[in-house]
Amino acid sequence: MKRAADRIGIAAIAILGLGALIGVPHVVELFTLVDVAVYCILAILALSLAFVWGFGGILSFGQSAFFGLGGYAYALAVINMGESTVPILLGAIVPMLFAALLGYFMIYGRISDVYLAVITLTVSLIFYHLINSTAGPEYAIGRARLGGHNGIPGLPPINIPGNAAAQLDYAGTFRLSLGALLLVYFGLRALIASRFGRALVAIRENELRAELLGYDSRRYKLIAFVIGGGIAGFAGVLFASWGSFIGPGVFGIAFAAQIIIWILVGGLGTLAGAVLGTVLIQYLTTWLGQSKSVAALIGLAKIDTSLVLGAVLILFVLLVPSGVIPTLRKLWLGRRGASA
């Protein structure tokens, strides 16, 4: 019964995704299209952590570090090269290499889960401070200035490979973002269903038992961490290109915590939950930020979205601890079981 539910879910996501890919740019206004594109990009970032944490059992609190590295690698390369194909690849490869190096020391050093979370977050914060202190003109790579706290503005949009002049418009950026989201989602589903993925899940369930059966858990976890780093980096590329800007804020603690909230709201251990959690929270944040009537209703000039996010997290931890998707799945299966 669970498999039937899974199949229906996959088919629904595929149909909805393809429908949105084709239809949405024709029916929504430009502002919404731009908003939805960034939801898709952030959902890719959420998927990277959903995979690493939910299936690999590695709480990478500083997943934003790979997102930021991807964005900065892309920005520096595209300014120097003028064409986006190689910079996109670099935006995924640089975070993967960094994840391999960092992950090797953490995972092969058998650092426990809590310390691993602290280390990844610390690394992200080190990048935050490092980039923030590069405001001077001497901090440049080729023609690209790092820009310090001002970030790197004026990034060109992604172009058709090999043709720097054929740049994507808003609809093209939306289609690329949603297409990439679908590709990453279904790619990760296939990976989790593969022999590698099942072994990874077994290691998450019981690392000692997996090792006593002959699985080198550290190798599996490192590979998962590197894949997660690459996906987060790729999301960073799309983010930098979407906003024509990348700044040190992506390495900050607020952004790192936000990714955790997306996943906890959607449901740890599911991929669809990560996407749903991202969209729900981002929509809520945007809506509250814009909605003057809600602020007026509670007697404030402006609503602090950080406070709202914190309240949402507390409510979910208390009332829906397993997140939206696992709760819905349990309810649906329970109802089917009762009616059978």
């Binding site: 099942r198 077994a202 369930e205 000692l208 038992r209 997996a210 090792e211 006593l212 059966l213 002959g214």
Partner: protein
């Protein structure tokens, strides 16, 4: 004894200066079944943990099929052919029974061989009826069998069973004894067990551990009659021994 499949020389493990296992010289022949008995804290489980790489020895050597494997990592020792069923079942609670067994078999076998092995183990361990259920939902006795099944799916050359009948019903214990009798035709085994009735069902030779050392190694009948063994161990197990 045939050429030893497992040999330990002066194997020692100290925790903060206190020896849990103290200079143990032990040999197990190919195809041999040996029971380890001894009071709680005698060092039996620590001995197993050093053989399977869960603990690094403080001193001494572990030889498996003549090769020095002292301090090797757990997954490498498993690849050499050492399998262990731990004292407290160590399982994949979130996976179903068939997938758990499949993961164990697939590590060393192709897809079709793994399926065949899993089907055979499900039948042998009477787990067919619960093959699709999550391991975390099973009763204790069934969990013991799942772990045993996972270890067997790898087809180890040396099988270590740490209290395989703990928490089992008398019927499950009898079935486990029958399974071990069938398994011993194919591989060497060391079984740690407190249930002396069960030990008498399966064992010919017994090694008695006491305070981290080997107190005695002898056929089961001789061990049961030995005054020292009765004093340090069997006296405390009169009810189960009777």
């Amino acid at each position: 004894m045939s050429a030893p499949i497992l040999e330990t020389r002066g194997l020692t493990k100290r925790f903060g200066g206190v020896p849990a296992v103290d200079g143990v010289d032990f040999k197990l022949g190919e195809g041999e079944l040996r029971c380890l008995i001894g009071p709680n804290g005698a060092g039996k489980s620590t001995f197993f943990k050093m053989i399977t790489g869960q603990l690094a020895p403080t001193a001494g050597t572990v030889l498996f099929r003549g090769a020095d494997v002292t301090g090797e990592e757990r997954h490498r020792l498993a690849r050499h052919g050492i399998g262990i069923k731990t004292q407290v079942p160590s399982l994949f609670d979130g996976l179903d029974v068939r997938e758990s067994l499949h993961l164990a078999a697939r590590r060393f076998h192709g897809a079709s061989d793994a399926r065949r092995i899993v089907d055979a183990i499900l039948a042998e361990t009477h787990l067919d009826a619960v093959a699709g259920r999550k391991v975390g939902e099973l009763a204790h006795g069934q969990r013991q069998w799942v772990e045993l099944g996972m270890v067997l799916a790898r087809e180890p050359l040396l099988l270590l069973l740490d209290e395989p009948t703990a928490g089992m019903t008398p019927d499950e214990t009898r079935r486990t004894a029958a399974l071990i009798a069938r398994l011993r035709q194919r591989r060497a085994m060391i079984v740690v067990e407190h249930d002396m009735h069960f030990v008498r069902m399966i064992a010919e030779a017994v090694t008695v551990f006491h305070q981290g050392r080997i107190l005695m190694e002898a056929p089961i009948g001789e061990v049961l009659r030995d005054a020292r063994v009765r004093e340090v161990y069997l006296g405390a197990h009169k009810d189960r021994h009777a």
